[in-house]
Symmetry: C2
């Protein structure tokens, strides 16, 4: 067995680095508030840049603020890249994003210590504004890197606090001299917490992520007519709440009938919302997710047909708007196999799975072959100060990352 | 045919009186804002008292403010009473309540003109605070008259503006010298607009009201758990919105399966109410109505079983509160027959029906035999400035009132 096969990352050191990074924007309950392009986010990026310099990495910061640390390879080849993001939602946890960036740095530190040289350069990236919680779109840094969003357009985005991305970049000195996307990348691997309960429930340590679900957000505005709950016979009603209730039920039916489908009504507002008045209006959203683009479209179509049909029978008018439409992404099969092989070789329990949440890796999949490694989230909780992933799981995830990267770096 | 059989009320005069009364508290769009015990309500009562005096009626005002005008009979017998109320909801119409009070006064004026004497005295009442829009409970005046609510307890009620019933009574000089309930009443007949669409849809002029639906308001608080709409598999969810949606559907099912049942979910609030987050909490109400007390209780029981069952399967906790519980009232069959006979004799199209809304007549049914006469509401609209009933329908209703009262006055 060559030396590199026996290599393992240093789990306690990775934990210390996670603790150090969590100090930037720390909030009560063990959480982190590090909205993109803010002061705490910049301090976190400075911390990461310092860590990269300490590891002897070459620093690249592009004009949107993405931070790359590159470890030279024996040859001047495209970079084998890993990473994630350091920004958080308003009341986020200390693992979402951070595990991928610091896990990547831990891999490079492990290689440094062991004196392992690779043919390809190895790199770690911290993309800006993955969350999109302060400025839309989410995955902004990777979208700019891919060229789907210009730096100029991104800079013009106005956030929930009325400031612009550009204003924040200038104020907090985010911009670097590199042109986004100029760095040649061979492949991209992202270690991330699952943000769901599947691995925990199945008692698996590693999620071999085959792809990311596509997302459609459909808004329905249903307009009926108010009426007296006592005096108006049922068959004469135009009850917007009734159609909304039927839509909630149908969303569940879609989830159970369409393979791989998730359909959620999370938001519903009735008007006038009074006990004894038939609802005149209902505004609701349906969040549809599926890893299969055909099934996702079919689910959307069936949903719309259902709503139109039942609303028509009830005499309720329907307005429909597609607010989000992100296609599913399937990762490169050889990359996914490499992640699986690494997990298997290392002796970790694992399962293939689909990501329910969006990640920079799905954007990078349009640049180069990409893959993801998930580790369990306790109780499936994420975007919450209670977010937690066990040290041994994070360590295992970083070891899988190490050996997946080595596979493509040589 | 005796003279009295040929008697008809004066429709145009009744319309003029309705227009005069609608001036007190008039608001834009032809509506009326005359909350109970307020200044406009008192001015309306003063107007009615003046009309009563002009008709030579004896005035009785009791200590809660109910106004009675009594026309002497040949004998000193219990009063054959009609009437309704003059208060309105915040943005009410000019017909709800007013038609019954002014219709009654029109009947007495018609008898005066024709010189018809009756054996029993005839009376018209304007009960205070039927709507309950400013001070609960609704039907306060008739409840005090019946003795179910003491004047002292009623005076202590605090309204939505923070003032008390007692304070308003004193400030606007509402109280009269009579003791509530001391007036002996033989029977009570209330002419009212339907406030629903049934008569209009069936193209009938007169509703012969057999009773008033019972009402139960059930509040459900459903507590599940938030989760990521993408990352959380369906079978692991505790989705409060799903249980709420199923409850809305079940309410409709109850309405269709249980004879005479109306079940309405008019109010529903989700939390956190976000597109991509499974709802942690749903608060909803179900308004149940039925004229049959056994069926109403059975519907409530079936509903609660259903909610507990589906919530149990979903892992959602249920809190249930009965907020309103008013028993159904069936009117005296001989009174109902008398209304029907009057409508038939007068040649009006009519139908027997159940009132979906509450009325003073259902309270008076506990004091004496009672009945109601409905006239059509255009589009079923009520508690709205657009409330409208056609002059010919109001005239017909007052004629039915006239002949029903004559039947019991002799």
């Amino acid at each position: 067995m060559p030396t590199s096969k026996r290599l393992r990352i240093n789990g306690p050191r990775l934990q210390r680095n996670l603790e150090d990074l969590a100090r930037f924007g720390a909030i009560a309950g063990g959480g982190v508030c590090r909205p993109a392009f803010g002061r705490a986010d910049k301090e976190a990026r400075d911390f990461l840049e310092d860590r990269m310099r300490a590891l002897g990495l070459a620093i690249h910061i592009d004009s949107i603020g993405n931070l790359f640390g590159i470890r030279n390879g024996r040859e001047s080849k495209p970079v084998v890249l890993c990473g994630s993001h350091a920004d958080t939602v308003g009341t986020g946890g200390r693992f979402d994003g951070s595990v991928g960036v610091l896990g990547g740095l831990e891999v490079l530190e492990t290689l440094n210590e062991a004196g392992v040289a690779t043919r390809h350069p190895l790199g770690v990236v911290s993309f800006v504004n993955e969350e999109g919680a302060r400025f839309t779109p989410d995955m902004m840094g990777s979208l700019v890197f891919r060229g789907d969003l210009s730096v100029e357009a991104a800079r013009r985005m106005v956030g929930i606090d009325g400031t612009t991305v550009g204003g924040n970049i200038d104020e907090n000195c985010y911009a670097g001299p590199s042109t986004p996307g100029e760095l040649p990348v061979r492949c991209y691997v992202e270690l991330h917490i699952e943000q769901g309960p599947v691995l925990e429930r199945d008692n698996r340590t590693i999620g071999v992520v085959e792809g990311v679900q596509g997302i459609k957000w459909i808004s329905f505005t249903l307009r009926g007519a108010t009426a007296h709950a006592g005096a108006m016979p049922i068959h004469l009603r135009h009850d917007a709440a009734y159609v909304a209730g039927a839509t909630i039920q149908y969303a569940r039916q879609l989830s159970l009938q369409v393979d791989g489908q998730r359909a959620t009504v999370g938001s519903l507002v009735l008007s006038p919302n009074l006990v004894n008045v038939v609802a005149e209006e209902a505004r609701l959203t349906v969040d549809l997710r599926n890893a299969d683009p055909g099934r996702l479209s079919a689910a959307e179509e069936r949903l719309s047909l259902f709503v139109n049909d039942i609303a028509g029978t009830e005499g309720v008018r329907v307005e429909r708007e597609v607010r989000v439409d992100v296609a599913p992404v399937m990762f490169d099969p050889s990359m996914v196999d490499a992640v699986e092989n690494a997990a298997k070789t290392l002796g970790y329990s694992y399962m293939r799975m689909i990501s329910g949440a969006g990640h920079d890796a799905q954007v990078m999949a349009g640049v180069c072959p990409a893959a993801m490694i998930f580790v369990p989230s306790r109780g499936g909780i994420s975007h919450n100060v209670a977010e937690y992933s066990a040290p041994e799981h994070i360590e295992a995830g970083a070891n899988v990352l190490l050996h997946t990267l080595l596979r493509f770096a040589d």
